[in-house]
Assembly symmetry: C2
Homo-oligomer: 227 residues x 2
């Protein structure tokens, strides 16, 4: 495997997942940011962890913030693509409650199965600057789709007051905390998605919703180019 | 107002809430940790923010970690005291669903009304060492009380699979994220507590639960010495 990007050839065989040097840098940075802390990690230590010179790293990323920006965007990109794709589905055959369940389950599975638990970096004071605007905008857009689906999915005279879709969004994001606490189980994303539908007053319909939700995930994720 | 603790007299009037120099240090550190980041904050900058010499600060706290330890413990102390007090109540007259609602509402109100949003520091890699064990143990104990109440409070053939009390705990902690996103409303803690009871299959009983929950909060919080 050789680097597809610019920069000097590395003097070690790559030991990290990723087809390119850029992906290896992202993987090493994700490990260091989530285990040592963002402020405690230097670009030098990231380069060391990949086995490349610091000067080579700068061919791929100008600053440490550029790396964090890419990593944060990666935590919402696939779920936002999925959300946009299923929003179209909801205007067709599937009901809003099925679409909301599919989105919650897909998103929660992403958060639990990524190689590093990057969601713990969401509220870093360092990640509030203008350069993080694309990540923040994508997360707001994803949240808004949950909100719209929550209104459509809620049973007429049951379910939560306020914004039920936002409660579902938060329940799914809480999987980040569950994972940080070492408590995630294989069933955790489904349990969170189910609880979201219960909040919308759809607890009695869950068996049917689960079946249709699984079909949507299979159909939509198969067609997403991001996969 | 004068410092009740040891150390040199400060050369400025205190400008922060807190009856003692120790409390002023905690307030300044909480502000800096949540706005600048923990790793980016030096004990020197904390001392400057209080208007005292760095050497005086060391009379109160040996290290920056000692300050963070105290701050993290403060985010769960009152809710854990409340949880222990109401656990007794639940064995008496009030039902588990009322007690769970009261705990969730009390805890959520604490998280939303503290002067600084310290919960964003829960998953700092730096806060995982052995010196944070008391905070971690208190949070685990609080979480376990939610878990026990969730089992007792769940309607026989409705509600979430898995551990409904843990979903309520996570929904309440998600108020930390909501606050970090600038989206907390005065109604947010009650909406989260209500959603927690819906997850337990108690949505239809919410009006009565809310009334009794408010009475418990009034009674128990009035008797807690931590107040």
């Amino acid at each position: 495997m050789t680097s597809a990007g610019p920069g000097r050839p590395r003097n070690q065989q790559p030991s990290r997942p990723g087809a390119t040097a850029r992906e290896e840098i992202l993987d090493a940075a994700a490990e260091l940011f989530t285990t040592q802390g963002f402020a405690n990690t230097s670009t030098r230590s990231i380069a060391d962890a990949v086995g490349m010179r610091q000067s080579s790293l700068y061919h791929h990323f100008k600053t440490k913030d550029d790396i964090l920006k890419d990593l944060l965007e990666s935590t919402v990109a696939a779920s936002l693509s999925f959300a946009k794709a299923v929003s179209g589905v909801s205007s067709g055959s599937a009901s809003a409650e099925v679409v909301l369940h599919a989105l919650a389950l897909y998103d929660g599975t992403q958060l639990c199965s990524s190689r590093w638990n990057l969601g713990i970096l969401y509220h870093l004071p360092e990640a509030r600057g203008g350069q993080y605007e694309q990540f923040l905008a994508s997360r707001r857009e994803l949240r808004a789709i949950y909100g719209t689906l929550g209104v459509l999915a809620s049973a007429p005279s049951a379910g939560a007051a306020g914004n039920p879709g936002d409660l579902v969004f938060r329940l799914i994001e809480s999987l980040v905390n569950l994972r940080a606490d070492g408590l995630v189980l294989p069933s955790s994303p489904l349990e969170a998605a189910d609880a979201g539908l219960i909040i919308c007053g759809r607890g009695n319909e869950l068996p049917a919703i689960r079946t249709q939700s699984a079909l949507i995930i299979e159909r939509v994720s198969g067609g997403l180019e991001d996969f």
